[in-house]
């Protein structure tokens, strides 16, 4: 395992309070949970989505904002029940579907973050509105 260094410490806007640590899974595209994520497995099933085929379970899920049907809030609840919810959710700008979903599913969530700086695989800690990001040392040279 490569050495990891603390790269960023951000204060975002709190949507759902909590504490979580996990590896980032970054989507440049919005996520719609109803029809987009399998509520029983956590696998992204939307055709052509950048995360298609990957599981959100246990990851710090990073995406710009939600999209799609308001019933999507209950898909997040279903994910939490089956133990395949994301560890935390980070958005650029949250909207009601995912925000309400995170609250009812008790998934820590923060928005108003520069999520374009995050990469899949980064180690992320979410604590209240504070977000800390670690990255392997050899990868840090690539940061612009």
């Amino acid at each position: 395992m490569a050495e990891e260094r603390l790269l960023y410490t951000w204060k975002g806007r709190l949507v759902k309070a909590g504490h979580a640590v996990g590896r980032a899974l970054v989507s440049p595209e919005p996520i719609g949970f109803l029809g987009g994520v399998d509520g029983a497995t956590g696998v992204v099933v939307e055709r052509g989505h950048p995360l298609e085929g990957q599981s959100v379970a246990g990851r710090v899920l990073v995406f710009p904002h939600g999209k799609g049907s308001t019933v999507g809030s209950y898909v997040l609840y279903q994910l939490a029940e089956c133990g395949c919810a994301p560890a935390a959710i980070l958005n650029a700008e949250s909207e009601p579907i995912v925000a309400v979903g995170a609250i009812i599913a008790e998934i820590p969530m923060v928005d108003h973050l520069p999520i374009h700086l995050l990469r899949t695989g980064d180690r992320v800690e979410v604590e209240g509105e504070t977000v800390r990001v670690w990255r392997a040392v050899e990868d840090q040279g690539q940061v612009r």
Binding site: V15, G39, V71, S73, Y74, E81, S94, A99, V100
Partner: protein, 398 residues
Amino acid sequence: MRLTAEERSWLGGEAGPALQRAMEIVVALGRIYGAERLIPVESVQISGVSYRNLGEAGLRFLRRWVEEGARVRVPTFLNPTAMDLAAWREQGFDPHFAARQAEIVDLFAQMGVGAGEPMPTCAPYYLARPPRAGSHVAWAESSAVSYANSLLGARTNREGGPGAIAAALTGRVAEYGLHLEANRRPTVTVAVQEPPRTVADFSALGALVGREIGRGIPYFVDLRVEEPLREAKLKALGAAMAATGAVALYHVAGVTPEAAQFTPPAARLTVGSLREGYAMLDEGGDVDLLWVGCPHASLEEIERVAARVAGRRLRRPLWITCSRAVRRVAVEAGWAERIEAAGGRLYADACLAIAPLRDLGIRAVGTTSAKGAFYLRNLAGVAVRFGTLDDLLDSVVS
């Protein structure tokens, strides 16, 4: 956002987990939309009632909220379910589905919705005294939201499912969107060259305008809305614009309560012919069923249908959906009997657009409602014949 001491204590969990979660949702929505404070609401209408939409996860979530002691603090209405809660067998529903659907309604009853006896309907303004002009409510069903804002002059955003429950449990919503005077100004002037006459015409007009202006607030400058069924025509117009677009408020010069405060905006949409609206909604062909009551039928609409079918015999079933309260009056007035004699039925609680119609063996439905046509096709997955009530009835009278 400024919260009162009581609101802060609820958010901190001092009044238990049910109210805490509700408060978290209300506050999160307020933050997202930049609200400065919460405001009390006089009533709430909850959507997300159909088992087909909620699913097992939604049902389990409701159970948990009830177990935690969730109770509504203001008068609360419930959107329709997939089926008539009493006559579901006759409609052809599967007992497993019916049991789940009944449990969902029972959970809402335990929360105190409908004072413990919910009467599921998308037209709560026919159940009790409708909200007064200027009052704040938190309604969820898109046509009811349009009706409350536009025809009654009440103020509501379109609440999502859990958001509406949270508003009912706290008796509050965040002050943003259509709760604020400044956001109720019209954005597009709409001129209509072919005057709509029937309910279906108003539906077709609404379908066209909703498609064109999306989230805008239309201001109809030259729309005449004549009796009979004047109220049903306005209801159909708003329902259609909320279905093909996301119109939550519209103004009609000389008709709706807030129109006089505004002047027509510079942006302009001219609707030439209604024919395009009919073409957009009507797939033609034979139907398995005629549906009246999208949004849920008023007494006046039921009375008109009763008069039209009296002494005739329909070759296809006619289902009229309405609230239990409206049906009770229709039965007492003798209209239900006349409709049933012709082969029709009055079903309470139900909405066909959210029902698993294909499982009931229904593949094509006739309707006068653009909203109905839109969701029958996109949600229920059935073919649609859209037209005037007279044309639809004539097509199935032997």
